[in-house]
Amino acid sequence: MLKVFVPADTTACALGADAVASAVAEHARARGLDLRVVRNGSRGIFWLEPLLEIEADGNRHAFGPVYPGDVAGLFEAGFPGLSEHPLYLGKVAEIEWLARQDRLTFGRAGWIDPLSLDDYRRSGGYEGLLKALEKSPADIVAAVVDSGLRGRGGAAFPAGIKWRTVLNTPADQKYVTANADEGDSGTFADRLLMESDPFQLLEGMTICALAVGATQGYIYLRSEYPKALRVLGRAIATAEAAGLLGADILGSGRDFHLQIRVGAGAYICGEETAMLESLEGKRGLVRFKPPLPAIKGLFAKPTVVNNVLTLAAVTTVLAKGPEYYRDFGTGRSRGTLAVQLAGNIRRGGLVEVPFGVSLRELVEDFGGGSASGRPLYAIQVGGPLGAYLPESLWDTPLDYEAFAAVGAMLGHGGIVVFDASVDMLEQARFAMEFCAVESCGKCTPCRIGSVRGVELIDKIGKNENRLANLELLEDLCATMEVGSLCAMGGLTPLPVRSAVRHFPMDFARNAAE
């Protein structure tokens, strides 16, 4: 029987993949073809979604983008036979945009049926867990430390060190939590992984639980991701039925129970301590640190809080060894980064590459420039708390330290591209407005500072005491940066200051002086 793959991922479906899938099934029925539609995940090649694939002569061949209205024409042109149809893209493995990536974490995405445990295991899944079961907790932690893996949520803290702290803190109960509150604009890598390869997250969390001695885990998932919720829920049930989660994992005598908790639209709950509060059923108020969550986290117990991609990467570290992972990357940024090309970009999607690649290579070679065809103008890296970078800084390599050195941050790897139609004063204003809307309200610089920031930027736009207000804005940014409890208030100055510094003309449009 012939298999036709149509992604069920959020972006593919937002572009009509469900209708494509049913149209393919209908046409096949009408023609009496023995064909099965498999709903795979996405490869993250969103500029070609919906990407329809068929299996032929041992290869996967792609057509795309295939919109619902294209399906009839495809069949008329001989589909599912390969044809000279203009939408035919050739073998998937030879699509340059994909072939040039180093997919350590996203290697399976799009290839497999996300809910098929067999597919997952056949493609190397659960090898990491099997190796972990043979190791002592300290050896698992040592492997993660040796890999150089740093937290992918944005703060880039060494994952192994965090795990070691939890391992070495005695307690009657410990927790592993996955931060799946992927709220940064321009990011979708966590979502893509959870929708396209959910067992990888489950396996990573299970390895973590073995390493630190936790028996209970939570995935804190944002409510904006209903598809990921359904996929994860079914994956957990499948893993439990297969003895890979729950009591006595694979007969090891070790237990790890996993639940999903859904957020409720608060950006701040992506901050680790606010996430813990929310998991406890409270308002998402940021906590003072110390104590670190690794020592006193969820319900005051030692808790690992890691981003989805950090936990997923651990499966590769364990399966292939820390050296393998560490050999990718540059400087102190080891492994690969799941870059997300977003905004006004011609070829947007997920690009997993080793650290060290430059921003320009990403937006020009992979991204192909702007979607609008106008010249690129500003790039915001690292979400709403990330800096806006002008062209003079696009040769900065992807590297945590290199970005910090130019007053920017990599964050969760979101890259949002703007063409010259953007008004950077409006973007700076939005950064403050977003902070005002999403601040948890616990500390004054963030809660009040952001409101004052919006007012100041409005005055600057209207040329009211422009120079004095620009100076005041800089003062305010300094206060927020050093006086805020967490990164929300502390980093909002990053997009604001970078906009003022690199795009001063947008702050002087009505200026007389």
Partner: protein
């Protein structure tokens, strides 16, 4: 049993029973009530507080903190427009103006006929193919003003 406005109390009492013993159960409890009723009745706060061993202020604090929870029913369909940067880069600010104008309402409002509520959302994870919009559990990609109008027409005739 019903609250004074005719809403049955069984959804609330069922949820309280289900989550009372679960650590951190207030969030899933509130989600369940809202999924069942479309909103969280203000009159239920006392019962939730009693059942969960919390003060009414704590329960109200949680409901009012999170954007998703609401004390009032929404329109038949809630339209969420993404306001975040990746969508701004591809024209969401003008889409936003168009949608508000077309529906005649602002964020947080419901059309007088009760058909549509409009809410902002900060990222739907569809950032390579914006502007993005969510209605129910469905996300729509590359939504320009024209696409919005045709989707709206479809919904109005549905």
């Amino acid at each position: 049993m019903r609250y004074s406005n005719g809403i049955p109390t069984t959804v609330v009492s069922g949820a309280v029973q289900k989550y009372a013993a679960i650590p951190g159960g207030l969030m899933p409890l509130l989600h369940e009530i809202q999924a069942g009723l479309g909103f969280i009745p203000k009159e239920s706060v006392a019962e939730i507080a009693r059942g969960m061993g919390l003060s009414r202020a704590e329960v109200h604090g949680v409901i009012s903190f999170y954007h998703d929870f609401r004390y009032q029913p929404a329109g038949r369909r809630t339209i969420q427009l993404c306001r975040a940067e990746a969508c701004q880069a591809v024209g969401s600010r003008s889409l936003e103006a168009h949608v508000k104008n077309r529906l005649g309402i602002d964020y947080g409002d419901t059309t007088p006929d009760g058909r549509f509520s409009l809410e902002p959302v900060y990222c739907l994870g569809n950032c390579a193919c914006g502007p993005s919009m969510r209605i129910g559990d469905e996300v729509f990609a590359r939504v320009g003003p024209e696409r919005f109008d045709s989707l709206l027409d479809d919904m109005q005739h549905a």
